[in-house]
Amino acid sequence: MCGICGCSDTQSKAKGLFKPTQLHHHGVMSLHRHDHHHETHTERMIQVEQDILAKNNSYAGQNRQYFQQHKIFALNFVSSPGAGKTTLLVETINLLKTQMNIAVIEGDQQTEHDADRIRATGTKALQINTGKACHLDAHDIGHAVTDLQVADGSFLAIENVGNLVCPSSFDLGEAHKVVVLSVTEGDDKPLKYPDMFHAADLMIINKMDLLPYVNFDVNRCIEFAKRVNPKIGVLQLSATKQETLTEWTTWITNQMRSLA
């Protein structure tokens, strides 16, 4: 049984197991074939007034409560594919692993590659293959946290599926969404994909070392992000250059300290 949501779903999408999108269907009701009865049934209206994502939000609420109780600092990393989320995580882990417990949940449609890169640092990681789905959901995360046995007081990094659209709607129970944007992309992405920049608390502009070679206006990008979300924080770094990561790792350490 899952320790967070209490369900008996033993077939989670974790550990590279391919499973199509219907993770948590509890049986589809069969359509009754009794045409002779239909005329006697009267149609009626039922007021539901329920958020479509109510179920996901409820799982996310349970995760959030679990994280608070166990002083786990969870970040949900989102970006386009190729913005450098995994590299940023690997380098962040290398800098912080002697100071704190770290666990990583990796979301990709297929393959175990990203979890393998994290495990190479000596950090425990669990890969969720979402199959056809384009995002992680809160139920996946509840199971993954149980399977990973994330220690109390840990930094939990959740790397979402590379996609700037869908993951914005699905709360996982994280403390913050962190959106990673690299300078090899367009500086107008915050306006093109406003939902994600609206949902994120922090924007990391990555691959700053490549700035001289590309047509990316950092100030314009920040201005666009602030139009969508005036409260968004901004950090500029190059994941492959450790000396540029100090502000970022300090941010994490300070956030962790405020939980303790």
């Binding site: 009754h32 479509i52 709607s169």
Partner: protein
Amino acid sequence: MHEISLLESVLETLETQAKQQNFTQVKQISLEIGALSCVAVDALRFGFDVVMKNSLAENAELVIIEVPGRGQCSRCGTIVELETLHDPCSECGAFGVTVTQGEQMRIKELKVV
């Protein structure tokens, strides 16, 4: 296409409601979709028949009630209409309008037998 996931979530709600409210078939589903929610109404319509096939809502009619976006300007306080999350205030031109309406994705009501 997270619209498929959303529709699967709608179907789960229908199944729960069917047990609680004792109905066997859904004739019509009304969804309230805000203009600032990240749902493409066309994609919802496209996926609806596929997801509802062989369920209690097969052949149900999908009614979408679109709710316009609205927000309050953080500088001048005016309530303004919003088409996107990054529209400036139509009164004073400031960015950073706080959304007050139009982010919802709700199952409003069902017609059932």
